[in-house]
Symmetry: C2
Subunit: 303 residues, 2 copies
């Protein structure tokens, strides 16, 4: 018998992971209007920006303004704004802007970590240790990139993930997200990795960040659900994930994930109709063709 | 523990279900070259055409030529060419052209059957009975349309499907395909319908025909696999299924399905690389933007 959790938390990463892949600069007020529409739909976990150097990602040059506005506007609400930080400098800026929860990325594949951020595992963990020690008030989510496959070293063994988890646990981190950075995970691999990690780390909050590059975002989500995963990162319209060709897909699309979960009777706390309104702003203001299916599918009132 | 079959049969329906939704006429030799590339890739179950009136679907005006050519060229090979027929007249034409296996469609929702082909269930079954009686040499596949949801009457109860299966069994039919005609099935519903029908009809060959309208084609395939389904219809490039907007998806894309199954170690007998060559002809000659993901995803040699 197939079994699923009754409730799932969706972490919206569009305003960070999605927007950072958009070439033209998105005005801050457009970013904020999309975030507002998402919150209005019921999104409570939201990666709002990234405190990276604006030379590296110019799209995130307004990180302080976005974070300060969102943290101010929604304080004392259910919203938990999250920001990605690449290092202690970014973490300090995030905290100063009112952010209480950050994402920090290390690739399971060390080759990828070196290629991506020019650091060994040891160097990345050292930096993460500094953040934990110097800024203990920040809740940290560890994003394990290339958790299923790496462009340089192929399939990623689960031991590479557990090595990072063990190190993270020592730093007091309680949330780990397994990221299918290049979209090569398949349902069997997701089930295997996720169920082993769930079993070996019962106290750990384990999430999945899936890509739809090969059309498997929802199938992999399903496999994750079956392994007991109850937290999924997703991006509005499927934005992000470095699609490199027209028609190529990026991140798991939030609206497609909400729709699947809702159809199966799994609660997310997010209104699909209202969320589609947020996706519509994205379509009208940022990118006219989205890779999500629900941005285009018609609605049947009787289903 | 998640469980899957070791082997799956894919029924390619692109040359029928996909092509019939293409407006511009596809030259017969282009159709045949795509079919040849599919066979070369290892496809053995192939819906090659539809014996409908050319006024209804002009794209299928060359049904006789396509069927005769394919049946002649591949006789004494592993290929089993299939044709869709709407009635006894079509069935006779198919048989005369060398076809030995046909698909016949009845909607589980009678309202949809009436809207689609202007027949009650009784009339459709009567016609199917005529085919079985007069042309016993034809193997018949019953496609149960709207098996999961109907645009007019909402969710489809499993009892509507079993009513049709019971009638089909009396006519000696041994193959039934549950079709998600409007793309509203979700993994839970697929699992429920498929596992009940597998349990209640142990001798029946049950297939699934899924659409990607709401991005769930592969997730629904996964749920089908878990219910023990080992036959899936799919269409090259995701062609077909009446997409009505740019970016909107149609049928489950064959190359995406092959890729998922292959990644999970499930055998299909089809070479993904060679199949992509067939999809490339479709892209170059018929439709430049496909909704399948594998038509665009890059290949990693080490995975």
């Amino acid at each position: 018998m197939i079994r699923f959790p009754k409730q799932v938390r969706i972490v919206e990463v569009g305003p960070r992971d999605g927007f950072q892949n958009i070439k033209q600069y998105i005005p801050t007020e457009t970013k904020l209007s999309i975030i507002a529409a998402m919150v209005d739909a019921g999104v409570t976990l939201l990666e709002v920006t990234s405190f990276v150097h604006p030379k590296a990602i110019p799209q995130m040059a307004d990180a302080v303004e976005v974070a300060e506005t969102v943290c101010g506007k929604y304080q004392n609400t259910a919203l938990r704004p999250i920001a990605l930080v690449p290092n202690i400098t970014g973490a300090k800026k995030a905290l100063a802007a009112g952010i209480q929860e950050i994402s920090y990325v290390i690739s399971a594949s060390e080759k990828h970590n070196l290629a991506n951020i020019n650091r060994t595992h040891e160097q990345s963990l050292e930096d993460l240790g500094k953040i934990s020690k110097e800024l203990p008030e920040l809740k940290v989510r560890l994003d394990v990139a290339t958790a299923f496959g790496c462009p340089f070293s192929g399939r990623v063994d689960e031991s590479l993930i557990t090595k990072l988890i063990d190190a993270a646990l020592k730093l007091g981190i309680q949330t780990v997200v397994l990221c299918d950075t290049i979209g090569v995970a398949d349902p069997l691999l997701v089930y295997q990795h996720a169920s082993k990690i769930k079993a070996n780390y019962p106290g750990l909050d384990v999430g999945l960040h899936l890509h739809d590059t090969r059309g498997m975002a929802l199938a992999n989500s399903l496999a994750g659900l079956e392994a007991g995963i109850t937290m999924f990162e997703a991006s509005v319209g499927g934005l992000g994930g470095c699609p490199f060709a027209p028609g190529a897909a990026g991140n798991s699309a939030t609206e497609d994930l909400i729709n699947m979960l809702q159809s199966m009777g799994i609660e997310t706390g997010i209104s699909l109709d209202k969320y589609i309104a947020a996706a519509t702003i994205v379509r009208e203001e940022i990118q006219s063709v989205l890779t999500s299916r629900m941005a285009y599918a018609c609605k049947y009132e009787n289903m």
